[in-house]
């Protein structure tokens, strides 16, 4: 019997992860011991402090390039860059989650267990303070995402996937209003997510089986072994291809790529808007971070095999997102389809096998995250007596009622449409240029064509807001509390700055764009 040795663990390099998970546990204790009226403040401060502390640790360790915990975690450029991105975006999402002045009691239900639409439910919707469990759940999810983008073997990646997915399923069900919709969204997300996880796990098993074929080397699911097996193994690649396909399904599900996107509109619509914002920004970063690592590190030797297939997925994703966005009448669903199309553009970047492709994708993730958070922040503000007014027809004439917020939303939509001087344009350039450089002109053409289609729904919203006359049903825009205002302003400022002066972040991304194997 071989002796088991404890792997050495670089706790300092893992600090961001440990901080987030530790504070999440602390948050559970706060739920148990701190009096109800103080919980909201304590939890919010605790969560924000944890994010900031983790961010500081990421910054301190930004030059680390190492494998730790027995090779299970890679602390390298992309991991640190994406962790930093997740933390900054998560901080903004936490600001939205913590907002309580826009709606009495916040966007979350007080007691999720009360039967939806019952008398009790209506009473709690009136203004009882929302559940504070959302903070530990969010913090757990952030912690899971931090592991997900740094995981250096497939099993760790799977654990991380579950760690950040399970809290998200719950968070989706916690909307204060339209609870049936929210619960349905959660249920859908959970069931489909469970399937996706199962696919992922099957894929891991098949890849493990494939790696056993290398002579003189033990089987394993760490990326170095997988990489070696892909390049050296004499075994038939059937297992590898099947494993890769199943793994991809699991990851593409989280990334909301077609044809694994069907949950996205329902979940984005049903979930409380701050959670939707969190998912649209942070989950996207995490999912694409994992995709980048899996395809650039583990399977890079099989690039010839997976690029055409994933290229088709990318084109399909863009098409589905763009074409279906045209028909949407609900702003949250519209943004959901737009996020699907954006997943397609991101995939184009993932498939560009170069340092520029990697850095461009990471740049895109950050830029898109800021814009989409700001977009959902505006959605939380447009409301009437029944909560958010998300039907597009209700936004008619908004520009007349509150030109400031309509102006901001217009700016974000122009960014989504890829108009220059916004981050939407620079980020599109950042992924299209390496793709064309790699000779994948067909994906770029598809990207350009779908961008045109996608411009139409964005423009329709702009027309709604500015060129239509306000009606009786036009809701007012609530004056945001400090938290939402802060998140909104950061998002808009980042969208502008990354469009006008993208050089610093691009340099940062380029400097970080090298994986440790």
């Amino acid at each position: 019997m071989t002796e088991l040795k404890l792997p050495s663990i670089d706790y300092a390099a893992l600090a961001p992860i440990l901080i987030m998970l530790g504070v999440a546990l602390l948050g559970v204790l706060v739920e148990a011991f701190v009096p109800r009226r103080h919980r909201h403040l304590v939890q919010l401060v605790l969560a924000l402090a944890a994010v900031l502390a983790a961010l500081v640790m990421v910054a301190v360790h930004s030059d680390d390039r190492l494998l730790t915990a027995g090779g299970a975690i890679a602390v390298d450029g992309p991991a640190l860059f994406l962790q930093g991105a997740i933390l900054i975006l998560a901080a903004m999402a936490l600001l939205l989650i913590g907002e309580r002045s826009v709606e009495r009691g916040g966007a979350f239900v007080a007691q999720a267990a009360v039967t939806a639409e019952s008398v009790d439910d209506r009473r709690q919707a009136e203004g009882r303070n929302g559940a504070t469990e959302v903070y530990p759940l969010t913090t757990f999810a952030i912690g899971g995402m931090l592991i997900f983008v740094a995981a250096n073997d497939l099993l760790t990646m799977f654990i991380a996937l579950e760690v950040f997915s399970l809290p998200l399923y719950l968070l989706c069900a916690l909307a204060r209003r339209r609870r049936l919709l929210s619960q349905e969204a959660s249920m859908k997300y959970f069931l489909l997510g469970a399937y996706a996880s199962a696919f992922f796990l099957f894929g891991v098993a098949l890849v493990y089986g494939f790696t056993s074929g290398i002579p003189g080397r033990a089987a394993g699911v760490d990326f170095a072994t997988v990489h070696a097996a892909v390049t050296e193994s004499p075994a038939s690649p059937v297992l590898l291809f099947a494993g890769m396909a199943l793994l991809s399904i699991g990851l593409l599900f989280k990334a909301a790529a077609a044809p694994f996107h069907v949950w996205t509109p329902d979940v984005y619509q049903g979930a409380p808007t701050p959670v939707t914002a969190f998912m649209a920004a942070c989950t996207k970063v995490a999912a694409f971070g994992a995709l980048l690592r899996v395809f650039h590190v583990a399977f890079s030797g099989a690039a010839w095999d997976f690029t055409p297939v994933l290229g088709v997925v990318a084109v399909l994703t863009m098409l589905v997102g763009a074409v279906l966005a045209v028909t949407q009448t609900d702003i949250k669903r519209l943004l959901a389809y737009s996020s699907i199309a954006n997943a397609g553009y991101l995939l184009v970047g993932v498939l560009a096998p170069s340092r520029d492709g990697l850095s461009g994708t990471m740049f895109y993730l950050v830029a898109y995250g800021f814009s989409v958070l700001a977009a959902f922040a505006v959605v939380t503000l447009v409301r009437d007596a029944d909560g958010e007014a998300t039907h597009l027809s209700r936004w008619a004439g908004l520009g007349r009622r509150s030109p400031f917020f309509a102006g901001i939303f217009t700016f974000i939509l122009l960014a989504f449409a890829g108009i220059p001087l916004t981050s939407g344009f620079t980020s599109k350039f950042a992924v299209f240029a390496p793709a064309l450089d790699a000779g994948q002109a067909w994906m770029v053409i598809a990207g350009v064509l779908t961008s045109m289609v996608l411009a139409f729904p964005y423009l329709r919203v702009v027309v709604m807001m500015w060129l239509s006359e306000p009606g009786d049903a036009t809701p007012t825009v609530t004056v945001p509390g400090g938290l939402t205002a802060a998140a909104l302003m950061i998002g808009v400022a980042a969208t502008l700055v990354l469009g006008v002066a993208p050089a610093p972040l691009l340099d940062l991304a380029t400097g970080a764009a090298e994986f440790v194997r």
Binding site: L414, A417, G418, I419, P420, L421, F425, T426, K428, F429, F432, A433, L436, D437, A441, V444, I445, V448, L449, S451, M452, A455, F456, L459, R460, V463, W466, L467, S468, A501, P502, A503, L506, D507, T510
Partner: protein
């Protein structure tokens, strides 16, 4: 003085002015108008100084400035102007103050903020100057796309009938072209060794197939912008719905970006492809001349009619560019300037008529000359300039285009000449139906129709009339500036003029 950063200052100045105007209080619209007008005059003064400083016989590109922007992609803020761009910059600087003056009361009829209207006009001026002054392909693309945004809101917020439809159509058409160009821009960047510098890119050797695709990407964007047949359908809608001042800028300047882009980007960057596609482009130009002129004859809406005449004129410009002779090229550039003046004037005058009558339909007029003789006279003059009557500036450019084309391609020149006859038809018939003939009794009941041009309107039309007449008799100051740039462009594509068959004309030009 030639070290003064003219181009960047000219680009930024209107933007600063726009910010100032936008934040002026809404309840003091007069102040906003005055500030906007003063600001645009300032830009005009600066442009005039630049024009004087420009050395016509000097380097091809002058006033070059370059600042690093995105080093990772090799993007710089590079500005430089050749004679062609200089003429267009001058046209912008002249037109914007006049448009602001002409639009004095336009924004009041809509319920929207008056300062914002004038701020948008200044933003538009900033992007228009930037697009002509850019010498970096990326920078050019940025201005090319951003230009859409102010125009979109000018049409959509302050326009007339069907403004929403027209604004969205304008935006989507332009965006489609722009995105194709984006793909081509990225492609050019990849094959050109990851630089966006115009001068460096002209030196790059591109394989034939790639070159043709890239040419098409750029050409499509410019053909939609110009617009050439069959990409023109957005212009009558946009021109018909836009407020008269914005429409004057739209066809007067904005659309020239298309023809300018072909001259500056398509020909020098992809010379072989340009020659390969030239017959097709000539065909589009000729079809545009005839087709748009026929449609113009049938229009009953004044602004749409003027829009169609512009499409016909853009056909001439396209023919002039793709004939690949210096004469035709100079004629095309001169045409761009003269068309901006003549059609700008026509749009503004038509706008004055429409503002008085409250309708753009020709049937609602008739004999208006008896009520507003001066206005009718100016309309007649603008019409004559538009049909290229000898003695007006457009005649010289149209003539140059035709003789320059005739030396190399007789059929095209002959068919294009038919366009002149049709031009006489649509202009004279329009003038006759609106201002001549028996007085439409309904007109006498409109109080506004009894007021002839006021001082403000006279100030608007006078400089344009003066310029059209002046350049009609003495175009030399402009041709001196244009000629070397066109010559250089022809050198870029390796075309020399055929031996002159009518020797005197070339002599006269020199």
């Amino acid at each position: 003085m030639s070290n003064f950063p003219f181009l960047s200052v000219l680009t930024v100045a209107p933007l600063v002015g726009a910010l100032v105007v936008a934040f002026l209080p809404r309840w003091r619209p007069e102040l906003a108008k005055q500030v906007a007008f003063a600001w645009s005059l300032l830009v005009l003064v600066l442009s005039v100084i630049m024009w004087i400083t420009f050395q016509a016989g000097g380097d091809r590109f002058q006033f070059r400035e370059s600042y690093s922007w995105i080093p990772a992609w090799g993007v710089n803020f590079t500005f430089a102007t050749d004679g062609i761009a200089l003429v267009m910059l001058m046209l912008i600087a002249v037109l914007v103050p006049l448009v602001i003056l002409a639009s004095w009361h336009d924004a009041e009829s809509s319920k929207r903020s008056v300062p914002v209207y004038f701020a948008l006009l200044l933003v538009l001026e900033c992007t228009m100057i930037g697009v002509f002054a850019a010498a970096d392909v990326f920078l050019f693309y940025v201005f090319f796309e951003v230009m859409l945004v102010p125009m979109y809101f000018l049409i959509g917020s302050y326009g007339g009938h069907q403004r929403q439809y027209a604004a969205v159509k304008f935006f989507l058409y332009s965006l489609v072209g722009g995105l194709f160009m984006l793909a081509a821009v990225i492609g050019l960047w990849v094959v050109g060794g990851k630089t966006f510098d115009w001068q460096a890119l002209t030196q790059v050797d591109i394989s034939t197939g790639t070159e043709r695709w890239l040419f098409l990407g750029f050409f499509l964007a410019f053909a939609i912008k110009a617009p050439f047949f069959p990409f023109h359908t957005w212009l009558p809608d946009a021109g018909g719905a836009a407020p008269a001042g914005a429409a004057a800028l739209l066809v007067g300047v904005l659309d020239k970006v298309g023809t300018f882009g072909i001259l500056r980007y398509c020909l020098p960057l992809f010379p072989e492809a340009a020659k390969w596609f030239a017959p097709w482009a000539l065909a589009l130009g000729v079809i545009g001349i005839i087709y748009a002129a026929l449609l113009a004859v049938g229009q009953n809406d004044l602004k749409r009619l003027v829009s169609y005449t512009s499409i016909a004129h853009f056909g001439f410009i396209g023919v002039g560019i793709f004939a690949f002779t210096t004469q035709a090229g100079t004629g095309a550039v001169l045409y761009m300037l003269n068309h901006g003046l003549a059609t700008g004037l026509l749009f503004l005058v038509v706008g004055m008529l429409i503002a008085r009558r409250g309708s753009a339909l020709i049937n609602d007029f008739g004999g208006a000359g008896k009520l507003v003789p001066l206005l009718a006279g100016v309309l007649f003059f603008a019409g004559l300039a538009s049909l290229a009557l000898p003695g007006t500036a457009p005649f010289i450019s149209e003539f140059l285009v035709l003789i320059g084309t005739f030396t190399v391609n007789k059929p095209v020149a002959v068919i294009a000449t038919l366009g002149i006859i049709l031009a006489a038809a649509y202009v004279l018939w329009m003038v006759q139906r609106t201002t001549q003939g028996t007085l439409n009794p309904a007109l006498t009941e409109v109080e506004e129709m009894r007021r002839d041009l006021n001082l403000r309107e006279k100030v608007v039309v006078a400089p344009l009339i003066a310029l059209i007449v002046l350049l009609g008799f003495y175009p030399k100051p402009v041709t001196d500036v244009i000629n070397p740039a066109v010559q250089a462009t022809m050198d870029d594509i390796g075309r020399t003029d055929p031996a002159p068959t009518v020797g005197g004309v070339q002599e006269a030009q020199r």
